[in-house]
């Protein structure tokens, strides 16, 4: 991915076509990666609880593209896209899913605990809302030391109902730390639709920022350019010392909550329509007028990359069982 500096050169806030093509490629990589995860899960090769973010690739890519390497993120149970977009090579993520020493968490974490501190991924979290307060603390550390970095928490609409969300937003605003709260609002918490979990209409969830006097920035989560520009704006706001931002991205979960979820609770026609009209990759492909041939070429490369990641993972090293005790204490 382009660095912040390169991007700045590519025309300030504008998004060049080259950059959009880069986004397209990354989003498709995430898609192919997760389809492979579904496939390998069905083949019985992958242990653990898996959640894919098919349909939500634009939020991961758009947000992380606007961040510098030294900015940090906290991710969620739906973590693969965030990890890829923040810069961890797919083979290290795949190896993690296979529980291998070569994995980005050395086989200790799994899909819900992808870490890669070197590229600023402070870890995915299997507790909804669990990563938010840590991001406030990271941002506080940056502020205390005068470092020009932002700390970013990803979370879903369901997470906005947790007490942790409230305390974290509140503290971040009170202390005006450089944090960005990225709300990936897909209107579902597992099987629970917005109407059963949110007192506000799902589109109005951004109103929660006002309870803290926090800056709200909203964007269409299926439009990667919009997400990218919104994140740049949020980052600028935060780095200018103006405090944190709630970045509200409306998005769509085009698959089950977890891999293997039969989605008995979901209207099949509605889902079908969403898949047809809301797919961020299709939308961007159409805009960029990526033809069949070009698509095939890119797709072939990415599919091969993902396939290679699986091979890498399978050839990886199983941790010694007794190494379960290895990292308990520093």
């Amino acid at each position: 991915m382009a660095t912040v500096e390169e991007r700045a050169e590519s025309g300030g806030r504008g998004v060049s076509e080259a950059m959009l093509r880069g986004f397209f490629r990354e989003m498709l990589l995430i898609r192919r990666f997760e389809e492979k995860v579904e496939d390998r899960f069905r083949a019985g090769e992958l242990p653990g609880f898996l959640h894919v973010a098919i349909g939500q690739e634009a939020t991961a890519t758009g947000v992380c593209a606007a961040l510098a390497r030294e900015d940090v993120i906290a991710s969620t149970h739906r973590a693969h896209g965030h990890a890829i977009a923040k810069g961890t090579p797919v083979e290290r993520i795949m190896a993690e899913l296979y529980g291998k020493v070569e994995g980005c968490s050395k086989g200790y974490g799994g899909s819900m605990h992808l870490y890669d501190v070197e590229v600023g991924n402070l870890g995915a979290n299997a507790v909804v809302g669990g990563g938010l307060p840590g991001i406030v603390g990271a941002a506080l550390a940056f502020k205390m030391r005068g470092e020009k970095r932002v700390a970013v928490a990803f979370f879903g609409d369901g997470a906005t109902n947790t007490g942790t969300f409230h305390e974290s937003m509140n503290l971040a605003q009170l202390w005006t730390v450089p944090a960005i709260f990225v709300l990936e609002n897909n209107g579902w918490a597992e099987s629970t639709p917005a109407s059963q979990q949110l007192p506000l209409p799902v589109e109005e969830l951004g109103k929660r920022a006002a309870a803290y006097g926090m800056k709200l920035i909203e964007a269409d989560g299926q439009d990667v350019e919009a997400v990218y520009l919104a994140t740049l704006a949020a980052r600028e706001h935060a780095l200018a010392g103006k405090g944190p931002v709630l970045l509200h991205l409306r998005t769509h979960r085009l698959t089950g909550h977890f891999v293997g979820d039969p989605q008995v609770y979901r209207d099949k026609d509605e889902l079908k329509e969403e898949r047809e009209t809301k797919d961020p990759i299709r939308l961007l492909g159409a805009r960029l007028e990526i033809g069949e041939d070009e698509f095939s070429t890119i797709d072939g490369e990415l599919t091969a990359e993902v396939e290679a990641a699986v091979e890498f993972a399978k050839a990886g090293t199983d941790p010694k069982p007794e190494d379960a005790l290895k990292y308990v204490y520093a």
Partner: protein, 326 residues
């Protein structure tokens, strides 16, 4: 006698209570249309409707707390905390509110609330979806604590928990949901505070809970082949604890192993050992052996995960260790 899975047994108790008693309702995350993350509550929405089978937001404090409030007003709510790891979020309401209202009010209030939850290793859930935290609650006066290991126990104990006028934390183990077991034709309430002797024996007593009951029974079969006769006791209710049954068993066998899936340090086995060494000191021929998980957050990779939590062979080894003592 009919057979039910552990999952069906829990559902059976819920359904019967909902059917017979208007004051009963259930709530928790994704328990309605989806039937819960472990499919335990499947079908209950259809039968009882969304007023009594309530999906909640992701708000573990408010789930338990609103259960408390409704219970005080005469309802018998049964709330589900999807994974027991998330009990960490509702500790305040459980420990400071549910457990204490009765004493703090001088007996004016009681809180007939049941909190169902599940956990445990298996399927590589990782460190935040696999803890066994029952020991904490045994340290909290005002709560009752149940850990069911068989379908019959799950059904009968859950019923008693629902109709107990005290807040009861009811632990289920994820890997037991599919086990089958004989159950009585009609639901038989099982009183809280009564241990169950699963298997009689004369050489060693194993006091086990949850999944480890099954592992211990397997270990006992193995030990039998070596001529070691093992008694397996499941307290079932951890608080209040049936000390009498447990201590009598140990007085008979003179040797004891405790077994649970939680980490050994600070676990329920410590309480058992402390009670038993005190009450059966003159009877014990060997130190009490404790079996539990290795002291680490549960690693993801299946090899490490399975190494960390105890299995039948760990219980068997402990049995052999204790028998080997003079």
């Amino acid at each position: 006698m009919p057979e039910l899975t552990y999952r069906e047994a829990v559902r059976d108790a819920l359904g019967k209570a909902l059917r017979e008693d208007d004051s009963v309702f259930i709530m928790g995350e994704d328990i309605a249309e989806m039937g819960g993350s472990m499919a335990v509550t499947q079908g209950l929405l259809d039968e009882f409707g969304p007023t009594r089978v309530r999906n909640t937001p992701i708000s573990e404090m408010a789930i338990v707390g609103s259960g408390i409030g409704a219970a005080i007003q005469g309802m018998r709510p049964i709330v589900e905390i999807m994974y027991e790891d998330f009990l960490t979020i509702s500790m305040e309401q459980l420990v400071n509110q549910a457990a204490k209202h009765r004493t703090m009010s001088g007996g004016q209030i009681s809180v007939p609330l049941t909190i169902r939850t599940q956990g445990g290793a298996g399927w590589s859930p990782g460190a935040q979806h696999a803890q066994q935290l029952e020991a904490w609650f045994v340290h909290v006066p005002g709560l009752k604590v149940v850990f069911a290991s068989t379908p019959e126990d799950a059904r009968g104990l859950l019923w008693s928990a629902i109709y107990d006028d005290n807040p009861t934390v009811f632990f289920e183990h994820r890997t037991l949901y599919s086990i089958k077991g004989e159950v009585s034709d009609e639901l038989q309430p099982i009183p809280l505070g009564k241990a169950r002797i699963h298997r009689e024996g004369s050489d060693v007593t194993v006091v086990a809970t949850g999944r480890l009951v099954h592992e211990s029974l397997q270990a006992a079969e193995e030990a039998e082949k070596d001529g070691i006769s093992v008694e397996v006791v499941d307290p079932r209710t951890l608080l209040p604890l049936d000390e009498q049954t447990i201590v009598e068993s140990v007085k008979k066998t003179a040797r004891c192993v405790t077994a649970h899936e939680a980490v050994t340090r600070g676990g329920f086995g410590a309480e058992l050992a402390a009670v038993i060494q005190h009450a059966a000191f003159d009877w014990l021929d060997a130190p009490i052996e404790r079996v539990g998980a290795a002291f680490a957050p549960l690693a993801f990779a299946p090899g490490m995960e399975q190494w960390a939590v105890p299995h039948a062979d760990d219980v068997l080894e402990a049995i052999r260790r204790t028998v080997a003592r003079g």
